[in-house]
Symmetry: C2
Subunit: 208 residues, 2 copies
DNA sequence: GTCAAACATGAATACTGATTCATGTTTCAG
DNA sequence: CTGAAACATGAATCAGTATTCATGTTTGAC
């Protein structure tokens, strides 16, 4: 478990195994990409190191030059997914004044991203069983952002008052469920329609 | 799913290994209960047959008297969760005329159930990776019920018009997300509050 | 009571797959 | 150019564990 840092002092996650040359950099990236593909497709347990390295076009031992453990690649992928999603959404909602509109654009961007990266989506789901801490961080970070957006909107009078904590989780649940529609159940409903229907619900509810 | 008669001829899923005596019945049940507990706690892969049988208080070989495969117990647990949840919700919403109120009562019952059976909840989530077919059936069955409820309510003028397919998935997503709050993130927010906040959102939306 | 069918046992089998290691090959600073 | 550090290889190790099986024990119909 604990891993003494090379000479620094990170208590939580020492970033060892960093490549020093361009070649190493490329190899590491290839392995990471292969891991995303293979683990996303076969699941963590059926994805063997052999599968991953052969997909990456390197020998099995090469894996351990850049990663200390099978679990470590997995964790890295979860973190990557988190960073990418947040970045994508932040970019998509950049400069949208009305926060309700921003949320809608965010949902749209999220679904687009999920459709483009189905493997990463499944990996995050599996994290609940492979790396619960990463899973938790992924969702709590996400929820915190959602929540503060809602609170700002509430303060600005752009949405009604309500429990923004529960709202945040509920809205995340909607986004996740629709994402699953696309990636897991392979729905062919176009994203714009999904977003439109969902946002009609979110804005107006279902009261007659 | 379909249940072959004792001596009929199902090609897909022979229901062999049915105990014939009271003792066998009890043992099988003990193993199933142990499997729920152990797999729910450690996850499918880390839950070995040895763990399960020792939790059940029987020898390792006994497992294979009642189950042909580790995967089979797992599948059975997913099916059980589906049956139990549907039954619980049906019972809780029995005789409620207003369908909007019925949905609320259903959410309440669902969250109660989830809190009482955290292991089963995790098992369903893991089914996406261990037994995708069971996972799919669980959610599509659930969604179909949700959807037809919404359509009936719409026809009866009890809710506004809208895409009931997407609505069903969105509402399921909310329920699931709140369930996860309880079971995975161990929120201490009382269920009635969760339900109240969520249903305010579902009924009225967040428009000011 | 008896005995065949059910049930139970736990050691042995058989295989998978993560991780290590001894041995080359490539890179690049000086 | 050159040699030490990086990088790469893939066969060998090593542990875990699903499943089988030969051998008892219990049950219940008669």
């Amino acid at each position: 478990m604990r891993k003494p840092a090379e000479e620094a002092d990170m208590p939580t996650k020492a970033a060892v195994n960093q490549p020093k040359t361009a070649r190493g950099e490329a190899t590491r990236r290839a392995i990471l990409a292969a891991a995303e593909k293979v683990i996303g497709a076969k699941g963590y347990n059926d994805a063997s190191i052999g599968h991953i390295t052969s997909e990456a076009g390197v020998a099995q031992g090469t894996f351990y030059i850049y990663f200390t453990t099978k679990e470590q690649v997995f964790s890295e992928l979860v973190l990557e997914m988190g960073r990418l999603v947040r970045h994508t959404i932040a970019e998509a909602t950049q400069g949208i004044g009305n926060r309700l509109e921003a949320e809608k654009a965010g949902l749209y961007a999220f679904l687009d991203f999920v459709q483009a990266h189905p493997d990463l989506y499944r990996i995050v789901q599996e994290a609940l069983f492979v790396d619960p801490a990463a899973y938790e961080e992924y969702y709590t970070t996400f929820a915190a952002g959602y929540r503060s957006g809602l609170e700002a909107a509430e303060a600005a009078g752009q949405i009604s008052k309500g429990d923004s904590e529960t709202r945040a989780w509920a809205l995340m649940g909607i986004a996740r469920s629709l994402g699953e529609q696309l990636v897991v159940f392979k729905s062919d409903k176009p994203i714009p329609e999904l977003v439109a229907s969902a946002y009609d619900l979110i804005e107006n509810g279902i009261k007659p």
